[in-house]
Amino acid sequence: MADRIRSLIPAALAAALLAALVLGTLTAVTIRAGGLGGLSARDLSAIWFTLWQAALSALLSCACAVPLARALSRRRFPGRKLLIALLGAPFILPVIAAVMGLIAIFGRSGSVNDLLQWLGLPTLSIYGAHGVILAHVFFNLPLATRMVLHGWQAIPSERMRLAASLNFPAASIRRHLEYPMLRSTLPGAFLAIFLVCLTSFAVALTLGGGPRATTVELAIYQAFRFDFDLARAAALALVQVAICIAALLVSRVISVAPNFGAGLDRPSILGLAPRTIWPDALCISAASLFLLTPIAVVMMRGVSGLAGLPTTIWQATTTSLWLALASTALTLAIALPLALAAPRHRWAEAAGMLPLTASALVTGTGLFLIARPYVNPTQLALPVTLISNAALCVPFALRILIPQVRGLQMDYDRLAASLDLHGITRLRYVTVPRLARPIGFSAGLAAAFSMGDLGVITLFSDGQTQTLPLALYQLMGAYRLDQAASAATLLITLSFGLFMAFDRMGHYADPR
């Protein structure tokens, strides 16, 4: 018993850290404000808009992810692995760069409208609620696809072989293999995307067309910056946390664990895919066009100016790279214990999802209020940046790790226990090797995220540390849009490079 409790200590510490970061800071702001403020009718409509756009974005992302992931899982073609990796790119793209790309394709003077005009068809506008949703699908379809694809790949090939040998028609494969897998994968994917879209701020605004597309996060920003009304900001932040917890509870009711039993790591078999290739081919091509052209456009735009970037950009790049690596290590240190505890202890998963609900502004303010009496906040600029970056990555790492951990524990916990494998040894010989791929994937996401994150909670900013995304914004703010475009190219390249490096490392480390 004592062993069991001891093994939970790292998870408990991680959970406590996240709870303090999200709920502790919210409490600090509420105390400072002297209570929670009332919400206006406009705040309520912001809450409503936030909810439905998040739900619709998550639904669409998941709906598109299923055929795409299925096509990718059952077809083999040259460059498939690279394409799968590339299709993940939008998720790790810095928001500002992604919006630039989407506008270049879907904007008023973008390629799609040029084409429509040439064909004599009416043009379409990206600006409005549908623009927000389009952007959210663009960002999150990759996440949903990867999660569902992992699910597909996690169906042991023994089961697929069995189905093939029984000459299952498509409907039976769906019913006995695919549906149970989707049933266990999709609720998690939906929840993750719903929560990401819940706290979206910049996207909603630029493509939202106007104040009708006001999200809770923007309402918090307004309460904080425009009205200096901490009480209302705290109340809105609390609403955001409450929505997230409600969503988690709902997903708890819906979600089920996959139960395919263990496989023997036999190489996956094909042969179950229908003969007609074109629906899958169409699906993959359409998704590639949608997800890759905006990025390609932004990349192309900045290439020529790369050599002419000012030297401080390269310093900022070095800083960003260090921050990304450190924050990746921290993400894994928090996420892995939580993921290992999550299948048996619901609190671990709930704590891991908390950072998604946090308003960056409220968290930053709360940290500032807590730290201020003891230290000069500017001295904390780097630790605070690291911790907040890492915390934001934890929910995604968890979503990737937990299903795999569940499988691992179902398949090998008894064997490991009977051999008295525990602690570091178990981590080294069982957990990490079996989880190498999801760990690599999570690390890649964390690194890319931290690379693209603005990274400075402005209250802690020391005015010295400059990161690449911050430099990008400052270039834009100083009319230097060409240099900003080059900085964006650099940023995308590095974010994606980091992601690929970690993801590949995971594959390489996988002993299978």
Partner: protein, 329 residues
């Protein structure tokens, strides 16, 4: 975990040791954009350190929220980069001391008598367009409202952007009680509302919108830095809204002489002579040579609109409600 903490510690340590010097330190809070290589911060720092025998340290970030949270325990000796829309709240903190400058020497289009907040540069709101793409720009604000709806503009959200708020007050100053009706006419032409100025301006340079809410001084950057004369600000006879950036010293400072010296430096020739191209705006004092010729040649509005601090504070909420209502339809 361990390595990342060590790394963080290491980075923090190098950051602080670089700052450690024997000279007295003047801590100045400034906005985010200020301290980048492309902001005015580095030039101001170099210029002041030449004369003060001190170490000027900018702390960039959420300027006023940070001051409000810190109250009289703040470490700031002075602030720079406040906007007129927050001075009422800043003043109410009671943290600020008079700047001690003669404001009658200022070259502003409006009279400035505030003895606490000192303007160091200024400009006016304007819609900027590309002369090669928009041959017949609206000749007045009214013409802009009456323009066909396929003239598309980008503006900023007044709740998150300083220029967005300035636009709100600009419309209110021209149209008064008719402001909401004006917004309803303008709304169909607004392609989108961005959180900040940068995103709007990016949409404009990408050719996504015909006009962007910016400043009368914006074309100067393109002319001087890029040798590009195709960008122009539409000048409206109804007048343009005045925007200025302000500095002030704190009465809680432990370096009162240095803080005062910094206030003096702001109106000095050295500061005023370089600010035009450092911050792409008009200097608070215009003497011969302070403005590059391209700057001096920019068309100037005949009329400047401005709400005093109290007026702005009183109409802010009402104007915002009108704006939200107009866009809600």
């Amino acid at each position: 975990m361990k390595t990342s903490l060590m790394l963080a510690g290491l980075l923090a340590a190098t950051a602080t040791s670089a700052l450690a010097q024997d000279k007295p330190v003047l801590t100045v809070y400034a906005p985010d954009y200020f301290t980048s290589d492309w902001g005015p911060g580095p030039k101001i720092e170099a210029g002041f350190e030449d004369i003060c025998n001190c170490d000027l340290q900018f702390i960039a970030g959420d300027l006023l929220p940070r001051l409000l949270l810190e109250g009289d325990r703040t470490e700031a000796d002075a602030v720079i980069g406040l906007n007129t829309d927050v001075t009422a709240r800043a003043r109410a903190t009671g943290l600020f001391a008079p700047h001690g400058q003669d404001t009658s020497t200022l070259s502003l289009p409006i009279a400035w008598t505030d003895d606490t907040f000192l303007p160091f540069n200024w400009g006016e709101t304007a819609f900027v367009y590309d002369t090669t793409k928009l041959a017949n720009p609206p000749q007045s604000f009214q013409a802009l409202l009456d323009a066909p709806d396929d003239l598309k503009i980008a503006i900023q959200d007044p709740r998150s952007s300083i220029s967005g708020l300035a636009l709100l007050l600009w419309v209110k100053a021209i149209y008064g009680d008719e402001a909401q009706a004006a917004w309803e006419k303008l709304a169909p032409k607004v392609l989108t509302v961005t959180p900040g100025w940068s995103e709007s301006y990016g949409l404009f340079t990408d050719g996504e919108v015909d006009m962007v809410m910016s400043y009368t001084t914006s074309p100067a950057y393109h002319i001087i830095a890029e040798d590009d004369t195709t960008k122009a600000a539409a000048i409206f006879p109804e007048g343009h809204y005045f925007m200025t950036e302000l500095a002030a010293q704190l009465n809680t400072t432990d370096q009162p002489q240095l803080a005062q010296a910094f206030m003096d430096y702001i109106l000095s020739d050295a500061f005023q002579g370089m600010i035009a191209t450092a911050n792409w705006s008009y200097p608070a004092i215009i003497k011969p040579g302070f403005l590059p010729p391209q700057f001096a040649d920019l068309p100037r509005p005949a009329k400047t609109l401005f709400y005093s601090e109290q007026e702005a504070e009183e109409i802010r909420q009402e104007a915002l409600d009108e704006w939200l209502t107009a866009f809600g339809r």
